[in-house]
């Protein structure tokens, strides 16, 4: 059990002439809750997109549980046990809440592309989807099309889809973006509950969420990680303070 959950080595990404990720080295330990913070435009979402193969990388290496995943397609990486959420809600709008979650568990339960089994007969898929639905507090909205849920409900569903497959490495991209204080608190409790025993990597702007949840924090500035450490270390780190110019970190 010596492999890190995710290892990034010399990771680079450029769009045309502009370098967005300029050599990121990072080890995420199995089972830790790791937050990535940084000013806007630092490349946090790009980093997630590279790890999950949403976009191709320009250089460097990515390992998932000790195995290189460079060049794999998103669905292949997902099958290796990495799941992610999106900053901009990315759900199946015309399907009901329940169907959204059931779609998310089908592959991991081994139902693949089968067209000879009735969905209604798949007890395990139904139970798992219902359990997740209970977890994210959307049981009342079971048959509502996802497209007409409220924003906070869609964000909860987004997290639900991400964790439903039971992936052991979970990436959450700004899970509380745009939420009110109450909604944020509920979301934090939800994230804490559903990622129990899993490796969590999250991008987050809300420092309250970050310092409340994370075991370790990495600070990404202009495509490079300038510091990684426990919340207390990051809070006192001079370079981090400089990068943020005394903004949110002080307020925590």
């Amino acid at each position: 059990m010596s492999h890190p959950a995710i290892r990034l080595a010399g990771l680079k990404k450029n769009f045309g002439a502009s370098e967005i990720i300029r050599g990121v080295d990072l080890d995420i330990r199995p089972g830790e809750r790791h937050a990535i913070i940084g000013p806007n435009g630092a490349g946090k979402s790009t980093l997630f997109n590279l790890i999950s193969a949403r976009i191709p990388l320009s250089g460097g290496a990515i390992e998932l549980k000790g195995e290189s995943v460079v060049g794999l397609k998103p669905f292949q990486i997902n099958r290796k046990g990495l799941s992610r959420s999106f900053q901009i809600t990315n759900i199946f709008h015309n399907l009901s809440v329940f169907e959204n979650l059931r779609c998310a568990v089908l592959w991991s339960l081994g139902y693949r592309y089968s067209f000879w089994r009735r969905l209604e007969g798949l007890r395990d898929a139904r139970l798992r989807a219902e359990a997740v639905m209970e977890d994210i507090g959307l049981a009342r909205r079971r048959d509502t099309p996802a497209g007409i849920l409220t924003y906070a409900e869609q964000r909860a569903l987004e997290i639900g889809i991400t964790i439903a497959s039971g992936a052991d490495v979970v990436l959450l991209d700004e899970p509380t973006a745009g939420m009110s204080r109450d909604e944020t608190e509920a979301a934090v409790a939800l994230i804490r509950r559903v990622t129990e025993g899993k490796t969590l990597v999250m991008v987050e702007h809300d420092m309250g969420v970050v310092f409340g949840l994370a075991d370790r924090i990495s600070v990404l500035v202009y495509g490079q990680i300038i510091a990684t450490g426990a919340p207390a270390e990051i809070r006192c780190n001079a370079a981090v303070r400089e990068a943020y110019l005394g903004t949110s970190v002080n307020h925590v």
């Binding site: 999950s52 949403r54 397609k73 998103p74 669905f75 997902n78 099958r79 799941s83 992610r84 999106f86 990315n90 759900i91 199946f92 709008h93 015309n94 399907l95 169907e99 059931r102 779609c103 998310a104 089908l106 592959w107 991991s108 139902y111 693949r112 592309y113 089968s114 067209f115 000879w116 089994r117 009735r118 969905l119 209604e120 798949l122 889809i161 439903a164 497959s165």
Partner: protein, 428 residues
Amino acid sequence: MSRAATEILRRRGRLLLWVGCLAVACVLPLLFKSGFLVSLLCQMGIMVVFALSYNMLLGQTGLLSFGHAVYYGLGAFVAMHALNLVGKGGGPLATALLPLAGGVAGLLGGVVLGYVTTKKAGTTFAMISLGIGELVAACALMFPGFFGGEGGVSGNRVVGKEKLLGLTWGPQIEMYGLIVAWAFVAVVAMYALTQTPLGRMANAVRDNPERAEFVGYDTQRVRYLMLILSGFFAGVAGGLTALNYEIVTAETLNAHTSGVVLLMTFVGGIGFFYGPIIGAILITVMQIVIGGLTHAWLLYFGLFFLFMVLAAPGGIASVIAMQRALWQAGLLGRMLPHYLATVIPVLVLLAGLVGLVELAYALLAGEGATAGDEATRVLGMQVHLRSAMPWAAALAVSAAGAAGLYWIGGRMKRAWHETLSTLNGGRA
């Protein structure tokens, strides 16, 4: 009521609906005993299967294909050749199973051609499907040995001397029975497919291909499999056509046939399983009934289609579903008077427009073009095409209809929006 109980009720209702439809399909020809009706019903049954197979792509997977007739046509040709082979020593049972041969041909066609087309989704898929369709249609003219050239391939569905339960498939009514049986099995199978993991993931890929990839599914594979299965059912429909008409021409797999199935499916409604069934039945009736009355039928059809795209993009099924929602909310009564009032100007406008089109048709395309000043029959009336009177009359009727529609239609629209907001307000 508990969720499980509602589910059981719903399932029972569904079963009742299936059995009811089957019963209607079986009883209809016996009630009227008209040869015309039976052949119309045969055509409907075939088109229902074809349109549903098309909606597996368009409605369920979000793939707009302009070349679906390829699988239908392949099925038809293979079934026809198989029929001619069977003719050398088979019997009615073998004939009854021929649509399966068509289905297998459609499936294999899907395996080969779908590999290329489903690499892409969206607009690119639409263009490629068109190109592949043209490719196959051009090949059909190139290989007369298999496709029979201009004359097509023909055969005789009565095979051998023996009978299967007293049936030879010779009389049209027996053929109708065979079509109903096949159509029922195919429709049930296609419905069942929507309730499987693949069927559901096809919906997911339609809604959001990116997210589907991030829950572990290869969207290209989902599209490919759906196309193959859809090709199978299109092939079954093709096989039925071959048996029904006993002749297959290159027309069955060309762009026109692809276009017709697209129109049927869309007009019926792609968002509902039963939508394409409505579309196939309605368009087949229109095609045969109106097509028999006027040469301008395709023009009306084109206008009707454009009207549907602009006014009811969800198709007839969505309109029905909407009225059902109103009815359940007890609001349909509010709208009914408005609907009825709107019918009048619509009919007037239609009458005027049809008059104009028929006059123009008689003048430009019909024998009227050479008839000069003689009276011509248009819509059952004797008119002088080159005098101003009939034109002015048709124009006046159209104008009156349009004005009435503007006035009454406006009121209906307001009432509609009010009712809709009540409906939505009640829900939220």
